[in-house]
Symmetry: C2
Subunit: 152 residues, 2 copies
Amino acid sequence: MDISEVARCTGVPASTLRYYEEKGLIRSVGRQGLRRVFDSGVLERLALIALGRTAGLSLDEIAGMFAQDGKPAIDRQLLANKADELDRTIRKLSTMRDGLRHAATCSAPSHMECPKFRRLMGFAALSVSNEKRKTAASGGKAKGDTRKQRRR
Amino acid sequence: MDISEVARCTGVPASTLRYYEEKGLIRSVGRQGLRRVFDSGVLERLALIALGRTAGLSLDEIAGMFAQDGKPAIDRQLLANKADELDRTIRKLSTMRDGLRHAATCSAPSHMECPKFRRLMGFAALSVSNEKRKTAASGGKAKGDTRKQRRR
DNA sequence: GTACAACTTCAAGTCAACTTGAGGTCAAGG
DNA sequence: CCTTGACCTCAAGTTGACTTGAAGTTGTAC
């Protein structure tokens, strides 16, 4: 398969495929002249990448899951953690969905005035605000006065 | 409440609060000298913003949900659409979570070699690749050869 | 009544994930 | 032979969501 065929099959633009290759998320099996040649395994891989992106994983995290260089145990722990994280996200999303669904059919003039909406949302809202942001979970540097609420 | 108290309560940095105000997502009730004064309603609002962000909504989309300027019908339709979109996302995430969970305990040397993993993922993967990206859903301009696979 | 930490504005910087553009290569059809 | 179009590389640009820095102002504690 050449790059345009992969693009056609997956809907992923050729520029993105080149970018993914550069980042090490996919590999071409070789070249025909200048042109990349892919085997069909790349389709599966791309589907998995798309899935990971939907789940909010960064390209680097996804690349990390593909890498199986020697340390399967660590890898597995990481996978389990990711699954737990996903589970929490799913619960929040479900709450959000229910809230939206209700708000869409609710007769209150403004959603914030509907007690049911407020109750639905308020519940989830608490769990969100008590928690570090998802990006914060994967390491960050602390500095500056705008940083969380770290008083020096 | 002054800005640092809001920051402390919510974990949202002051710089972000100013940024959100500038974007119209939150409002301060006034000033004391130069300093913004917030009422406690902002906490609820911020929690909702955090929830929306978790759900993958952009700040502009979130702002749109808060805006209730005259057109509740359109707003409600949009809400329902968002809820449906969320529902699809939730299903994908659930699949992903199950796949990860399985991969974490699976004995196959590499996840891609485990038939169960491949089946779990392959299923969801298909549904992902047949679909427009979530950002594509909220409008984009078509141009260039890298564009989707829109056959003219 | 003054020192200073905490606020302010505004412009510019950062980061991830791509996209776009300029300029180049190559196989195939006319 | 020569044009065409799909591919190539590499650098630079874009977008969204913030963060950082410089320079100025002010409420509060001493």
